[in-house]
C-alpha cells in the first residue's frame, strides 16, 4: 500500500514540476539547471540517517561519502545560481 501512496506523490509532483518549469523563460535556463542541481542534492537527507546510524562500517562510510557529495551539490549549486541570478539586471 505504501508503494502506491508513494507513486501518487511522485505523479502529482511530476505534474506540478512540468507546470512550473514550463513557465521559466529561456533566458533563465542555465540558472534553472544549476538550481536543479542544488535541489537534487536533497539526497543528503537520505544520506544523513545512513551516515549517522549504525548499519555497519561500510554503510557509514558510504553514507558519509554521500553526505559530502550531496553537500557539494547543495551548497555549490545554490551559491553559483545566486551568483548568476545577481547578474541578471534590467536597465
Amino acid at each position: 500500500m505504501i508503494a502506491i501512496y508513494l507513486v501518487f506523490i511522485l505523479m502529482l509532483s511530476v505534474f506540478v514540476g512540468f507546470e512550473l518549469i514550463r513557465k521559466v523563460p529561456s533566458t533563465l535556463h542555465t540558472p534553472l539547471m544549476s538550481g536543479a542541481n542544488a535541489i537534487s542534492g536533497i539526497t543528503v537527507i537520505g544520506a544523513l540517517s545512513i551516515a549517522g546510524g549504525e548499519f555497519g562500517q561500510w554503510s557509514t562510510l558510504l553514507g558519509a561519502l554521500a553526505v559530502v557529495l550531496a553537500s557539494i551539490n547543495v551548497v555549490g549549486g545554490y551559491l553559483v545560481t545566486d551568483r548568476m541570478l545577481a547578474m541578471f539586471k534590467k536597465r
Binding site: 514550463r22 534553472l32 539526497t43 546510524g53 558519509a64 557539494i72
Partner: protein, 456 residues
C-alpha cells in the same frame, strides 16, 4: 529517545511547499533570485529537521562530511568562470548521481531484511545514479576538451550496448534475489558505470545541450528512486521536480534542433550525410575598418552570439560596442537561439555577466518576425544556428531545424576565426550570400578594434 517522525514529516511538507514556490519565482528574472533563496531555505529546513531522526546516533561523521562538502561547494561556486558553466553543471550532475549511488548501495548492504520492492527500487537508484555519474564525467571531459568532442563510435557498438543492457537486467534480478552476495553488487555498479560511458560516447559536442539536460533530469530521477527505497516523501517530490525540469529542457533542446531524442542519442551511429547541392557565390572578407562605417550608419543592429563568443570571451567587448552604438543612436538587440552555446541559456548568462540588460535579449521566434527591419546583423562565433541551409537545402543534415534568419538582414557581418565549418561540420551558405561579409580574426580583437574606431 523520542520519536520525532511526525514533526519531521510535517516540516518536509513545508519544505516541499518552499521548493515549489522557489521554482515558481523562477518564472521571471526579477524574482528569480528570491526563488533561489526560498529553495535554499527549503533545503536547509529539511536538513536540520532530518537530524532529529531516530536512526542517527553519532553526529561527528555527519558534521565533518557536511563541512567538507560545503567547503568544496563554496570554492567551486566562487571560482568557476561563467564560460565554464556547462562543465560545472555537468560535474554537479555527476556528483548528484554518485551521491544517489552511494545511498542506494549503503541501503542494500546496510539494512537487513529488505522487501523485494525496496530491493528493486534500490537497484534502480543505483543504476540511474551510476549512469548519471559516469555519463556526466564523459560529458564533462568532452565539454572541457579533455577528450575529443566528436562522436566516438566503433564497430558492433549497438551489439555491445544490447549485451550490456541485457546483462544489467540479469544482474538486477540477481541482486534482488540474492542481496547478500556482494559479487552481484560489484557487477551491478560496474556494468551501470559502463552503461553511462557507452551512452555519452557516441554523442557529439554540438548535441551537448541535450545530454546535459538529460543527465540533469537523471540526477533528479536518481534522487527520486532513492526516495522510494527509503520511503521518503520529500526525496520523491524534490527528485521529481528536478526530473521534470530536465525533461522539459531536453525537449526544448531537441525541438530547437528539429530532432527527436532518439535521433540525438544515436546519430553518432549514422553515416554522415553529404549534400550534393552546390553553394553558389563567393566569400567576401571585410576589414573591421570598413565594417565600422556601416555600423556607424546603422539604425538597428542585431547581435547573434554563439559558442565562439564564449570561447573568445568577447561578451565584455560586445557590451562596450553596444554602448557606443546606442550613444550613436542605434538600437541594439540580441537574438539567442535555444541551442547557442553548450547548455540551455548559456549565452544569456554570459551577456548578463557583461551587464547586458535581459530586456534586450530576444528569443529566435520574436526576432525572426521582424528580422528584415534590422540594418546590420553581427554574428559572433555562431554558425549552425544561422545556417540558411536549414530553410533552403533539402539534402542538408540540418534541414528543417529552426534557425535565426540572419541572411534576411540587410547587412550581415560574420565574426569568425577561420573558414572551418561549425560543430555540426556542415557548410554554411550564409557566408556565400551577397549581403554577407566575413570579418576574420579573434572576435574579441575585432570587437575591440571597432570599439576603438568608435571612440576616436
Amino acid at each position: 529517545m523520542k520519536d520525532f517522525s511526525l514533526l519531521i514529516n510535517a516540516v518536509y511538507v513545508v519544505s516541499a511547499i518552499l521548493f515549489i514556490f522557489g521554482l515558481k519565482l523562477l518564472s521571471h528574472p526579477s524574482s528569480a533570485r528570491k526563488g533561489n533563496l526560498l529553495s535554499a531555505l527549503a533545503m536547509f529546513v529539511a536538513v536540520v529537521v532530518t537530524l532529529l531522526e531516530q536512526d542517527i546516533i553519532s553526529f561527528d561523521v555527519i558534521v565533518a562530511s557536511i563541512v567538507i562538502g560545503s567547503a568544496i561547494g563554496v570554492i567551486a561556486a566562487k571560482k568557476v568562470e561563467m564560460t565554464a558553466m556547462p562543465e560545472l553543471v555537468s560535474l554537479f550532475n555527476g556528483i548528484g548521481g554518485l551521491a544517489s549511488l552511494a545511498v542506494a548501495y549503503a541501503t542494500i548492504i546496510g539494512k537487513t531484511e529488505l522487501s523485494v520492492l525496496v530491493l528493486i527500487v534500490s537497484f534502480v537508484a543505483l543504476l540511474i545514479g551510476a549512469i548519471t555519474f559516469s555519463g556526466s564525467v564523459i560529458a564533462w571531459a568532452k565539454l572541457s576538451e579533455r577528450m575529443v568532442g566528436r562522436p566516438i563510435v566503433f564497430k558492433g557498438q549497438a551489439i555491445v550496448n544490447f549485451v550490456l543492457i541485457s546483462a544489467i537486467f540479469l544482474v538486477g534480478f540477481l541482486v534482488v534475489t540474492q542481496p547478500e552476495l556482494s559479487t552481484w553488487h560489484y557487477l551491478a555498479i560496474g556494468l551501470s558505470l559502463l552503461m553511462g560511458v557507452m551512452f555519452v560516447l557516441p554523442i557529439g559536442g554540438a548535441d551537448m545541450p541535450v545530454v546535459i539536460s538529460l543527465l540533469n533530469s537523471y540526477s533528479g530521477l536518481a534522487a527520486c528512486a532513492v526516495g522510494f527505497a527509503l520511503e521518503n516523501n520529500l526525496l520523491i517530490v524534490a527528485g521529481a521536480l528536478v526530473g521534470a525540469s530536465g525533461i522539459i529542457l531536453t525537449n526544448i533542446m531537441c525541438k530547437a534542433m528539429n530532432r527527436s531524442l532518439v535521433n540525438v542519442l544515436t546519430s553518432g551511429f549514422q553515416p554522415v550525410v553529404t549534400s550534393e547541392m552546390e553553394i553558389e557565390g563567393e566569400i567576401t572578407p571585410l576589414t573591421p575598418d570598413d565594417a565600422y562605417y556601416v555600423l556607424e550608419a546603422a539604425q538597428s543592429v542585431l547581435v547573434i552570439p554563439g559558442y565562439g563568443m564564449a570561447v573568445a570571451q568577447a561578451q565584455h567587448s560586445m557590451k562596450e560596442l553596444q554602448q557606443l552604438l546606442e550613444n550613436n543612436g542605434a538600437e541594439v538587440s540580441y537574438a539567442i537561439h535555444p541551442v547557442a552555446g553548450r547548455m540551455p541559456g548559456h549565452m544569456n548568462v554570459l551577456l548578463a555577466e557583461a551587464d547586458v540588460s535581459y530586456e534586450q535579449l530576444f528569443e529566435m521566434d520574436e526576432v525572426n518576425k521582424r528580422i528584415e527591419s534590422f540594418d546590420v546583423a553581427l554574428v559572433i562565433g555562431a554558425n549552425d544556428v544561422v545556417n540558411p541551409a536549414a530553410r533552403e537545402m533539402k539534402g542538408s543534415p540540418i534541414y528543417g531545424m529552426p534557425v535565426i534568419n540572419a541572411d534576411l538582414v540587410k547587412n550581415v557581418f560574420v565574426l569568425k576565426r577561420g573558414m572551418a565549418s561549425g560543430f555540426a561540420g556542415i557548410d554554411n551558405p550564409l557566408f556565400f550570400k551577397s549581403n554577407c561579409r566575413m570579418i576574420f580574426g579573434d572576435a574579441k580583437d575585432t570587437l575591440g578594434h571597432l570599439v576603438r574606431q568608435f571612440a576616436d
